[in-house]
């Protein structure tokens, strides 16, 4: 157990001055300039979300009246959320016909498809990842083939998939979406979990084998418990990816298995016209899960999106 020299740790924690200020004025200017830039960029990147969230709470007449703009909702209302979720809203106002068809079934479809797809990707991906990490299965080329998979534009492989799904009666079914989402995010699971398995010292599974376990025993009883954190992070990560899909759902579903993002797009160009408030409410609902899960696993986000190439 190497004891870290306190003064070594302390010296690292002290202010490591990257820029050596020459004169005090320049010294003063530099931090202020730095702060200003950060603030400006924060405003630029924050405004779209600010606008969407506030729009979701604006009543009809503050959505997009010609000539005036409401930077801040004057009278907050929850009507948008109520109506997008299918409850009656009195006085729908000139544009809307009162009750839109509710987004609830589509949100449910999104949840089921994303969860199912993630579980399928996890089971298949974790096994393949351990096979590759521990036994270099697939001769070392398998990981690249899987990565190659990720490079194909989905639309390019949609035609044969569309045909197959229609032929197998999987088109416009939740099962169809689950299988597709599992197959599309499976590469992420393989690469992510492989990097987690590589961090478990090989000797731990060797020790389990010498202690009498079969290779399966060593995997389930000893190695898998070591990567619980990685497993949870990977699960959340692929859930975010599946929840965020639009193209596959657009092509592969009609109305029975339609997901929330596709419904949002339908509202966009649909007869309802520019119901900004209601669409913004649905947008907020769609943003919440990935935002929460994403912040929960922000440590692993970089590793996930770079296929385990960059670990922090």
């Amino acid at each position: 157990m190497s004891t870290v020299e306190p003064d070594l740790v302390a010296s690292r924690a002290s202010e490591t001055e990257l820029t050596a200020p020459r004169r005090s004025v320049l010294g003063l200017l530099r931090p202020v300039a730095r702060w200003l830039t950060i603030l400006l960029l924060a405003l630029l990147y924050g405004f779209p979300l600010y606008w969407t969230v506030t729009m979701a709470f604006k009543p009809l007449d503050e959505w997009n009246p010609p000539g005036t703009i409401f930077w801040w909702p004057e009278n907050w209302t929850l009507d948008n959320f109520k109506s997008i979720l299918g409850q009656e809203v009195s006085g729908g106002g000139v544009f809307s016909q009162g009750k839109l068809d509710s987004a609830v079934p589509y949100i449910q479809n999104s949840l089921i498809a994303a969860t199912g797809g993630s579980l399928l990707a996890l089971v298949v991906g974790v096994l393949a990842a351990y096979g590759i990490a521990r036994f270099r299965a697939g001769g070392g080329m398998l990981p690249f083939q899987i990565l190659q998979l990720r490079m194909f534009p989905p639309i390019a492989i949609i035609i044969p998939l569309l045909f197959m799904f229609v032929y197998l009666q999987l088109w416009d079914t939740l099962w169809g979406l689950v299988i597709l989402y599992g197959a599309v995010t499976f590469p992420f699971v393989v690469w992510l979990m492989r990097s987690f398995f590589q961090e478990v010292p090989r000797e731990i599974s060797d020790a389990a084998i010498v202690d009498g376990c079969t290779h399966w025993g060593a995997f389930f009883k000893v190695v898998l418990p070591q990567v619980k954190g990685g497993l949870a992070a990977t699960a959340l990560f692929v859930f975010i990816l599946n929840w965020s899909d639009f193209l596959i759902a657009l092509v592969m579903t009609q109305d029975n298995a339609r997901t929330a993002p596709v419904f949002l797009s339908a509202l966009q160009g649909g007869a309802a016209g520019q119901e900004y408030g209601k669409q913004a409410a649905l947008a907020v609902i769609l943003i919440l899960p990935p935002a929460i899960f994403g912040l929960a696993i922000q440590k692993y986000l970089v590793r996930g999106l770079t296929f385990g190439a960059i670990k922090r």
Binding site: D7, A10, S11, A13, S14, E17, A20
Partner: protein, 346 residues
């Protein structure tokens, strides 16, 4: 070359940890001083303050009587060799060595830079590998590149932070001799941090022993070995660990020494094993284990409940379980006051 004077240097980290506590030391110009102490005693922090990487909480640092405490690291012309050498891994050996010149203002002409790099390469035997990528060098060569890189800016002082700790044994002995030779040759003031007392004893003209941020003793290797100022220095210095026994055991009532309880310290190589009860045997003990180390043995004895180690010659090796007499070399015994841990005149 410069004389370094650290006056009342103190460093307290935000967490309240006092890494260096009122440290006072003068390092004469051209001398080779070792900062010796266990890990965490503040020696690296002191090093960082001299080089400017750390700002002291209070106290001043003088190079040749000039205060430099406020100067940034770049302006102090200090040579610093890190423990892991901090080689610029993406540069060639030549680029590493010439870095100091390439960033200096005004920047010397390219021919001048190449010439000086060539000189340094010859001195350190790196001539053949100048354009090899520095990260693919052996640990030993990396060590030389780190030295050359600091030498080229001919610094006022040279700071080395445990430079030899991860070299293999054979090369470490060679590099110790090399560094000593270079230091003598260019009369460079060098401060050398190590936790390995063998290295400190064999390299430095003077050694400053530190513990818990305080200076324990500053003196030549002999003074530290034979006349340790306190129990910490006695226990820390010396290849085989010193034995400590209650003084009453050997010196009888005089051991009590007018009211203060004392501890006797004796090095394993200063104890002779004789037949039990022989004349001059101050103590008796039972052998419980023998460690053969090739040229000599370390014999573990139980003396009235205290563990004692004695260095023996393979020729006369007792058997485990024998009862033997111990003869302490009279002028090699040290006494320490139990309260203050300070050395006491026998």
């Amino acid at each position: 070359m410069a004389e370094i004077h650290l006056s009342h240097l103190t460093k307290q980290f935000p967490g309240g940890l006092v890494a260096v506590n009122d440290f006072e030391l003068v390092i004469p110009d051209g001398s080779f001083v070792a900062l010796l102490g266990p890990s965490g005693c503040g020696k690296s922090t002191t090093m960082n303050m001299i080089s400017g990487l750390e700002k002291p909480t209070s106290g001043e640092i003088y190079f040749d009587k000039q205060p430099i405490t406020k100067l940034p690291p770049g302006a102090r012309t200090v040579g610093f060799v890190f423990q892991n050498y901090a080689i610029f891994t993406h540069m060639s050996v030549a680029e590493n060595i010439s870095f100091g010149l390439r960033v200096s203002k005004p920047r010397p002409p390219a021919a001048e830079i190449d010439r000086r790099v060539g000189d340094i390469a010859d001195v350190l035997g790196l001539r053949g590998m100048l354009d090899r990528n520095a990260s693919r060098l052996s640990v030993n060569d990396m060590q030389k590149v780190a030295l050359g890189r600091s030498m080229i800016v001919d610094p006022a002082i040279f700071l080395l932070d445990e430079p030899f700790s991860n070299l293999d044994a054979a090369f470490r002995a060679y590099m110790r001799a090399e560094l000593k030779r270079i230091q003598h040759e260019i009369e460079q003031t060098m401060v050398y941090v190590t936790h390995d007392q063998v290295e400190a004893m064999s390299m430095a003209d003077h050694i400053a022993v530190m513990d818990a941020g305080r200076l324990q003793q500053y003196g030549t290797p002999d003074e530290l070995y034979n006349a340790p100022a306190n129990r910490f220095v006695a226990g820390f210095v010396g290849s085989t660990q010193m034995n400590f026994l209650p003084a009453t055991l050997t010196l009888g009532e005089q051991g009590a020494g007018n009211g203060r309880s004392l501890t006797l310290g004796i090095r394993p190589e200063n104890v002779l094993l004789v037949a039990p009860g022989a004349a001059g045997a101050t103590l008796a003990g039972k052998v419980n284990l023998i460690e053969p180390l090739g040229a000599k043995d370390v014999i573990h004895l139980d003396v009235a409940g205290h563990g004692v180690r004695v260095v023996g010659v393979p020729g006369q090796r007792p058997r485990v379980g024998d009862n033997v007499g111990l003869v302490f070399d009279p002028d090699r015994q040290l006494l320490f006051d139990d309260e203050t841990d300070l050395a006491v005149e026998a």
